[in-house]
Amino acid sequence: MEAQDGVLKTGTSTVGITFNGGVVVGADHRATMGHFIANKSVQKLFKIGDNLALTTAGLVGHAQSLSRTLAAEVSLYQLRRGQNMTVKGAATFTANLLSGRPHWVQLLIVGVDADGSHVYSIDSAGGSIPDVYCATGSGSPYMYGVLEDGFSEGMNRADTVRLAARALSASGQRDAASGNGMDLAVITAKDGYVPVEQSEIDSLLKKK
């Protein structure tokens, strides 16, 4: 299935990687319409709670609408119950939304909860699969090359942020529908959702 060229879609590269004590998540900035780069600073990484983030790939309209709904549901859940939604809970909730009304998207829901750090990939019909790391979008094959080589269990924060930046950088170079820089964030139980400074990303990519 392919969206039409006249529709704004994020060709996209997004990535989520668990590490010892947290999870790193990131996404590129490019939106395309066919071969045209329609936007160079699209937000595809969304904070949806203190312990949760969402990355989106696919149709921009569907992705944005889902991110709004999800952020609202996550804060209502927190207010009503006095505790954060688990990552599995958020993934299942989103999967339920999608299985009722499919959206042309591929999502990552990542975060930390009492059970540890998690990455869930969610498809357009509501399939929800947990993993230790995952990449989505047209750039994912290039990112998986980097991830397969660089990932190991029990990495620290710094190495994981570098791995995520390298993966997104590779797909930005080789996938025509990805690029124009990236957003990165780290979620830990202690500090919650913390965006990675642009300057830190720049220096990480230079070192290589």
């Binding site: 009503r80 119950r81 505790q83 939604m85 688990t86 599995k88 809970g89 993934a91 299942t92 909730f93 339920n96 009492a114």
Partner: protein, 279 residues
């Protein structure tokens, strides 16, 4: 004049119906259809006819009457122990012709939650049905068991709606709801107004105060399951002043292993451990 159709205005629907059609909406619709209730009511008949009418001193008589029906109900008690909650009740079998197993006062809601009821049994069964559905909705929605306090609040929101919207009556039922979740061990009491409180040990039904007094004197934290069962049964007996009817006592345990109801043999064994009453 008002009760033309005898169909109950609130029914347990299928799962989706429960989510979409709130009782309030149904009730409001029905009220509109019947015209303005206040004008049609005969005047000067007191403040206890409409559940939605406050008396001049701020009371809702129908809600208080509903509490009365709980006070006349069977004695039911619950207490926490180290690993969970014990619920006990006396089913008050009035004739030897009744088959004790056919009287239900304890209900499993989910793997980790059970309730004991007192008051109108039929009302209780409606609440139990709703609690079971709410528990499953939580599993479907979030792939997780419902936290005990969340379920209690949902049930009490539902009970409350029957004290604010006309055309229906409050539930004549109190629930003792015990459960174990990630946050710990819980025992809640809910009343017909929709109020709830959390207890270490609590009781509902007739002679509630006697049972509470017994717990106030004797309950302590960190008891074993056996000690808690014994204390629950002693408390229940203190409300009776006579030996308990062995066929009529029901005991439920909810702990890390889930919900289980003791079979007749186990209940008898527990009752045998009680010191016989004097004279």
């Amino acid at each position: 004049m008002r009760l033309r159709d005898s169909k109950p205005s609130v029914q347990m629907g299928p799962v989706l119906g429960l989510i979409q059609g709130s009782p309030t909406r149904t009730l409001i619709k029905r009220r509109r259809r019947e015209g303005n209730g206040e004008i049609m009511q005969p005047s000067g008949r007191g403040y206890d006819h409409g559940i939605t009418t406050f008396s001049p001193d701020g009371r809702l008589f129908q809600v208080e009457y509903a509490r009365e029906s709980v006070k006349r109900g069977t004695t039911t008690a619950g207490l926490k122990f180290k690993e969970g909650v014990v619920l006990v009740c006396d089913k008050r079998i009035s004739s030897r012709l009744i088959i004790p197993e056919s009287i239900e006062k304890m209900f499993k809601i989910d793997e980790h939650i059970g309730v004991a009821t007192s008051g109108l049994v039929a009302d209780a069964r409606q609440l139990v049905a709703r609690a079971r559905v709410e528990s499953q909705i939580n599993r479907i929605t979030y792939a997780d068991t419902v936290p005990v306090d969340v379920l209690v609040k949902k049930l009490c929101d539902f009970k409350q709606s029957f004290t604010q919207y006309g055309g229906s009556r409050p539930f004549g039922t109190a629930l003792l709801l015990g459960g174990v979740d990630d946050e710990g061990i819980h025992l809640y009491e809910t009343d017909p107004s929709g109020a709830y409180q959390s207890y270490h040990a609590g009781a509902i039904g007739s002679n509630r105060n006697t049972v509470i007094e017994y717990f106030e004197k004797n309950w302590k934290a960190g008891m074993t399951l056996n000690a808690a069962m014994k204390m629950g049964l002693e408390a229940l007996r203190s409300a009776n002043d006579t030996e308990l009817n062995r066929e009529a006592v029901e005991v439920v345990v909810i702990d890390g292993d889930g919900y289980r109801i003791l079979d007749r043999g186990e209940v008898t064994k527990q009752l045998d451990r009680l010191k016989p009453l004097e004279d």
